[in-house]
Amino acid sequence: MAMRACINPLSKLLMRSNSILTSKVNPSTYILNPTQDSTQFSKSQLVNHGELEDGVIPEALKYSLPFYQDTLSNGLRVASEPSNVPLVTLTLQIKAGVRNESFQMNGIGHFLKKLRARGTEKRSRSQLAADLENIGAAFNINTGKEMTTFQIEVQPKDLAKAIDILADVSLSSKFNKNFIEEQREASLAGLRDTRDVRKFILENIHYTAFRDHMIGQPIRGNQISVGNITQEGIKDYVDAHYIAPRMILVATGSVNHEEFRGLAEKHFGNVKNNGRDIIGDDKPVFTGSQVQIRDDDVDMSHAGIFYLAPSWNSEDYFAFQILQRLMGDYRPARDSIINHPHLQYNYLHKWFGEIEDFGEHDSYYIPYSDTGLFGHYASTLDLSGFFAPHACLKATRKATNYVMEAEKYRARNRYYNDLLNNNDLFSQGKEIADQLYYAKRRIPRSEVAKRVSVADARYLEKVYTNWLWDCELALAFYGPIFTQVRLYGTYRGYTNDSNQV
């Protein structure tokens, strides 16, 4: 077979092929006539799609919105990123999550989140609901492994009212015993709901990966720990964590920083700046392990295959952000055909496409302050449940050996699109709060783009080899899995050459 490589910047690409050795080919003298019978990865020319050179970022990404930051006298950090959007979103992030709870009262953060709806010192439950709906506010509280986030979105004219409600709910909620008992009933009933299987798998992955550390415990707690929650326990938890140095307040949208700072000082200036000793700062230890939950009553088998990954401030953080976009996600309706062009540069999709009755796949990169997880979630009908974890392990091992230039370009373009499409005030506020907490500064998107633009495929391979080659795994399986799941050692063998698939 003869090959003609395209005479354009892309001719610099190394295009590996199963049937053609490119290293000895003079691109200008060979011609390839692709046919329908061409093997999956025997490449013909790529079209010239004007790919940017390494180190060059798209013009749009060179620009960032103005950003302002202050610290109040009590240590609370205040930041804003104004824009002309006719809304304003306030994000209050507190460094208090599951990892700061105790085993006895695991789930207290989530319990507290539900309790806040029941009223504060200034407002009864119905008054709180009325005040929010009268100004058309969207209000949300989210508890996570390391953070609790309060967010409220209103029209700019209602900024003062919004910050008053935010301060009231976060700092002055009522925790009387009747409310606590009512909420306990509701929380225990909620624990029996496992409809969100994806969340269920992720909870189990954390549990098996970080045994004996609170970060591995479920956010909602369990039947025993929720029963142990007391009024004193709640007050202790709040006294320890709801202190100014652990808080960040961010405003995005139509806001004036000076006015916002003044309101923050008025409502949050009295928050105390010290509390009792806190727990949860010890580093979690990743334990290679596997958890299986058999349930023959469900149709689909679900699997989580996860690896230890870099933390937020690790030097390999961006490389793994690229890896997550490289792996992407898979939906049969969109991707399910052999020889589909997506598959030509995505081995994972090719292997999933060969599995009958495959459900869905998502890849995740979940960094924390001192650890992280990278991995895959996959679901299939029961008889194919054997093959999905193998495809995920194969694809991850392949990334440690060889990252195609085309894969790198696709991941990079996806990253650029993600950076440019982040125009939702809620997610902007959360992003700023996370960056201020973990990286101690706002990272402009031009800097992220610059770092990504120089990502070299060979360097990425080295990073992935360091983390993902011959390493321990955290595995979770759920569903009618009786005949499908293998021993941990079998899966562990797929992370190196000892167990070829």
């Binding site: 940017l52 798209p58 002309n84 990502a455």
Partner: protein, 446 residues
């Protein structure tokens, strides 16, 4: 060098100086190609991706056979290598393409960097319009039919509102099972050639720096489309009854629909406010502050112990609209349910200003949330231009919402009560529920 650049998010990148700029007010421009393709663009508010939306004014109301469902199965799945090269371009450039088949149009959107537009536009045009009829049309039909899973009862209730209201024609055409018709190999191709024409095509983009440049890129690819002509099959609201016998643990699923306003009618804003006042939900465990707990669903409807779920719908199309309320409850109390709906709607005529303002504030905030999202603005731009060659005026819409008064609500309620009703009931065969004639009689209507 590479290692130093890519790693370490802690420390600022050496010698990197971000450019801080404020965002600015965007402007909208529109134009038409000589063959009738409409183009509308919104300039950048702030440097971002370019979002491209394409509307083709062919929807399920024009497709009783179900060709569009086969089209959706075959979209981006051609086995022909030349086609796959176009898909490859879209994939490598990080474009995530979404295709929606709706009642009045199909809508495709994607996003890319502005530098990549000259590659994306031809690839998109090829992917959308050059769907050759491959031999596996029958495979696509089989796949589509196999995916038609039994709906939940609540989905059935929602999905029967329009077929009942429009007697299964135009806006009421249900998603068909494509087994009855024997399709020839070129039937799909003929359908696409006839329907996917230049006059029916609108291309919208947000985040553009220059409208003329975008227009010339579009012209290179789209100027060879057949002009075609715009056809319009007006929808006629008829009302009617649909009843299906089911056995579901003593529950009844019931929906009552009324003729409402089309998208550009004056009362469209009023129906939007009515929907916001009623809200929807089921059970008091769901929700919390700021989650609609003060809507009439919770303050009036769910006070009745035998009701489990309440939902309100406001379907607005170019030339017609339907407003509907559905209830799920115990079938023992079935005979009271139509009366509950009508009484609570009648009660809206005496709404207080505080409650009305609360509903308006919620709509305003939701509209502004959509306004900040470029994909929502893109869809708004594309559809306004497609159907009316208008530039959407979000703030004009919000002004209309703010001007809705109690008198407007009373007028709309009167129009609803004097229209033909649509009633959808899913319950046990022995359950007695008043039919429409009985309901009209009780209302004093002829």
């Amino acid at each position: 060098m590479i290692r130093r650049l890519i790693h370490s998010s802690f420390k600022p990148l050496p010698n990197h100086h971000p450019i801080y700029v404020k965002d600015f007010i965007s402007s909208v421009q529109k134009s038409k190609l000589s063959n009738g393709v409409k183009i509308i663009t919104e300039s950048q508010k702030f440097p971002s991706t370019v979002n491209i939306g394409i509307v083709i004014q062919v929807g399920t109301r024009d497709d009783p056979i179900g060709y569009l469902n086969i089209y959706k199965e075959l979209f981006l799945k051609s086995r022909i290598k030349a086609d796959q090269m176009h898909y490859l371009v879209l994939d490598l450039l990080g474009c995530n393409i979404n295709l929606l088949i709706e009642r009045e149009n199909i809508y495709i959107n994607t996003s890319c960097l502005e530098d990549h537009l000259k590659h994306v536009i031809p690839a998109l045009k090829h992917a959308i319009f050059h769907l050759k009829n491959p031999e596996d049309t029958s495979e696509a039909i089989e796949k589509f039919n196999s995916k038609l899973e039994p709906e939940s009862k609540e989905d059935s209730l929602k999905n029967f509102v329009l077929p009942t209201s429009y007697s299964n024609k135009t806006l009421g055409i249900r998603c068909p099972r494509i087994t009855e018709c024997k399709l020839e190999n070129d039937d799909l191709e003929k359908f696409l050639k006839k329907k996917f024409t230049a006059e029916k095509t609108t291309i919208a983009a947000t985040g553009i720096t220059d409208h003329k440049t975008f227009e010339s890129l579009v012209a290179e690819s789209f100027s060879n489309l057949d002009k075609g002509r715009l056809e319009f099959n007006p929808a006629i609201y008829t009302g009617g009854t649909y009843r299906e016998n089911i056995d579901d643990n003593d529950m009844i699923y019931m929906c009552l629909g009324f003729q409402a306003a089309g998208f550009f009618e004056h009362d469209m804003a009023t129906f939007t406010v009515i929907k916001s006042i009623i809200g929807d939900g089921g059970g008091f465990n769901i929700g919390g502050p700021g989650k609609g707990m003060r809507s009439r669903t919770f303050t009036k409807f769910l006070i009745y112990d035998f009701l489990k779920t309440v939902k309100s719908y406001n379907h607005a199309f170019t030339d017609s609209g339907v407003f509907a309320l559905s209830l799920v409850g115990f079938e023992k109390y079935a005979e009271y349910m139509p009366e509950i709906i009508l009484n609570e709607l009648y009660d809206l005529a005496y709404i207080q200003e505080e409650e009305l303002n609360r509903a308006k504030n919620i709509i305003t905030r939701e509209a502004l949330i959509n306004y900040q999202r470029s994909l929502s603005r893109l869809e708004d731009l594309a559809k306004n231009c497609a159907f009316f060659y208008n530039t959407p005026d979000e703030f004009g819409y919000l002004k209309k919402i703010s001007q809705v008064s109690v008198e407007d609500i009373r007028r709309s309620l009167l129009n609803m009560f004097t229209s033909q009703f649509s009633m959808i009931v899913l319950t046990d065969k022995n359950t007695k529920i008043p039919d429409l004639e009985t309901i009209y009689k009780r209302m004093g209507r002829k």
